[in-house]
Symmetry: C2
Subunit: 389 residues, 2 copies
């Protein structure tokens, strides 16, 4: 690509982003960008022609000709967001502006491997498009959160602990020939972090910590997911916590916070004490029912998670930590002890502004983040390039 | 400021950045930006007129008229970089392109407080400008690294552990009325991180860990220092390490890595064992002389530092960790144990690409980072605004 074409894409991306942010008039775009009205007209016409923007008349005013109003396309351009879990796939078809047009959740077993899972997912996407009345070519981006580490630049799953048969699998490759839209893939916790970030306009540096069967973290600064050098950023489950050298983790090390304080770890402790608990969900149920031993174990787990978060607060200095995952539904039992640990260990300059709270979006964080990532990509220069290509 | 003026500044900043990156012809700027030759000419002329760029003829070629060559101004525009330590101030006057024109180091005591220290510093800057033959108005930015936490947006020192009398002091306020250039202030470790980053072109995510009397960290991703919500990011000295609940830290907590593994902590352990060692420098001297007890204590400290870095590698996934500070001069005794701890604890996806090495710049990292920050600011839209204002 030439530099001039590159520059044109950046300019188109900027214009589309301004419309997504609420600019509705061509004159606003000229003012905001410094481009001439002719240059704005040429570019806006291109974006309309390719179906990314639409321009509609508004109610006539007494002053004369009604002004035209620009917005992101709401009919012929939609995005497909996918939240792929260990045992389910949720698919949502959304307008670029955010409205969800159709959504379904179906059961699956991630350990059936990539070909079987993605074949079923692709069929689910097809049925959902049919029911929403959109032909396949309306889908402008597919964004998939998966329950394991991903090299986001290529969409390749890398050494996942729970996705049997997926190691090294490049997810977008499956859709080549089946779907024409670009396929974005990321770790589900990164998607959740992006979803929560989007619902907190005053936040600049957010950590989303998922405490469920395992423990993971997504990092968002300035609206962008921090993925690190190899896409492994946020993999905090195997950070060591003091005083638990006797606890063996499935990774082969000892004292990992996931082995000590995850929902699975608490369930294991309860079983060892004679309380029937198989999964994180059983822990939640027991605490909700007032079981004192379960409450005690959750509070101890919260203290260990708080110790790890104290280190991360000292290092990264976030303004917001969001707790999600099944265990996060236990607000009162979790938050007090986590907060106490962070305030006890991290320094005042870092803790004086940090908010530690539970998820706003709950189970919808992942699908909402996937949707945001899809639109973010579409409005980027690279996304625009495919749109107008 | 209007959006059009804002846009103009962004464009000027982009052009200046391209020249800083090696573009020397107006035609290259037109190609790279997509601007018309007339628009490039108008903007380049403005930057030349205000003294940020210069354009010179080159040796005539056989093909005819020699092409003109653009570069950053090297005469009437310089930056002043300052590395302020506990007992010294180093000041360097540099061209925008990086060449150091003059430099001095003078003794001071940071605990004399801000007015006394900054008065002496300002006089040192004045003498250095005189000796370099530059009048005060040539200085386009002053960039100061200080040995304590700073709220970088305002240049205010916040709760510094070793800077007596500086808490809450806004450093740029001192220079108002004395110097017309903008004054940038940041923590010295952030400056060092930026300096090391600038000398590693292949690096994207860098942690600079200073191990001296204390322990601190600077974080740079994509060329930008990550300062966090309140400027406290990288303050890792008070992260707890396992198994040292009996070690009291000056912060009032126990088991902080700084209390267990800093140069001061190792010196204290040696004293307790009857070996005379007051400071980190004594530890370095003893190890260099082959003292086995000192070597043993440094290796134990390296393991504890490695444990902390393993957590940060899991969380942040950097591609490079640079060790600096006085203890880092003990390469062999430090690196092996730190690397072993990181590789033992952090996950393969995060460790397979991380380089753990000692400083390239040594004591010059801080002043080099301050210089880079000054030029980075000058070439930013905000810096350009002052230049052409």
């Amino acid at each position: 690509m030439t530099a001039a074409a590159d520059r044109q894409l950046t300019s188109l991306s900027e214009l589309a982003g301004l419309v997504a942010g609420g600019a509705t008039r061509r004159s606003q775009l000229a003012t905001a960008t410094g481009l001439s009205r002719a240059a704005v007209a040429q570019r806006v016409d291109l974006l309309i022609d390719r179906g990314l923007l639409v321009e509609t008349g508004t109610v006539a005013t007494e002053r004369g000709r009604p002004p035209l109003s620009l917005q992101l396309a709401s009919h012929a351009a939609v995005v497909c967001a996918v939240d792929l879990g260990a045992t389910h796939a949720t698919v949502a078809i959304s307008e670029l502006g955010g409205a969800v047009l159709a959504e379904t959740t179906e059961d699956l077993d991630i350990n059936d491997g990539p070909e079987a899972v993605l074949t079923a997912l692709d069929a689910q996407i097809g049925r959902l498009l049919d029911s929403a009345g959109h032909p396949a070519e309306h889908v402008r981006a597919i964004s998939i959160g998966v329950p394991g580490p991903v090299e986001a630049s290529t969409g390749t799953v890398v050494r996942p602990p729970i996705m049997r048969g997926w190691d090294g699998y490049r997810v977008p490759g499956f859709f080549a020939g089946r779907r024409s839209a670009p396929v974005l893939v990321d770790n589900d916790v990164n998607m959740m972090a992006l979803g929560e970030y989007g619902h907190r306009p005053a936040t600049a540096h957010l950590l989303y910590v998922k405490v469920g069967t395992g423990i993971g973290c997504g990092i968002v600064s300035g609206g962008v997911v921090h993925r690190g050098a190899t896409g492994a950023a946020g993999d905090i489950g195997h950070i060591a916590v003091p005083g638990h050298d006797d606890v063996l983790c499935h990774c082969g090390n000892t004292g990992c916070v996931e082995a000590v304080a995850s929902g699975a770890a608490v369930a294991a402790r309860l079983r060892a004490a004679g309380v029937p608990a198989e999964h994180a969900a059983d822990v939640v149920r027991l605490v909700a029912a007032g079981d004192p031993l379960a409450r005690r174990q959750v509070r101890l787990a919260a203290q260990r998670i708080g110790d790890v978060l104290a280190s991360l607060v000292s290092f990264y200095n976030p303004d917001t930590i969001v707790l999600g995952g099944s265990i996060a539904s236990l607000h009162d039992d979790l938050l007090a002890d986590i907060r106490a640990a962070v305030y006890r260990r991290a320094l005042p300059l870092a803790t004086r502004t940090v908010a530690i709270e539970t998820t706003l979006l709950g189970r919808r964080a992942g699908i909402e983040g996937a949707r945001r990532l899809a639109v973010q990509h579409l409005l980027s220069p690279a996304g625009i390039a495919r749109f107008i290509g």
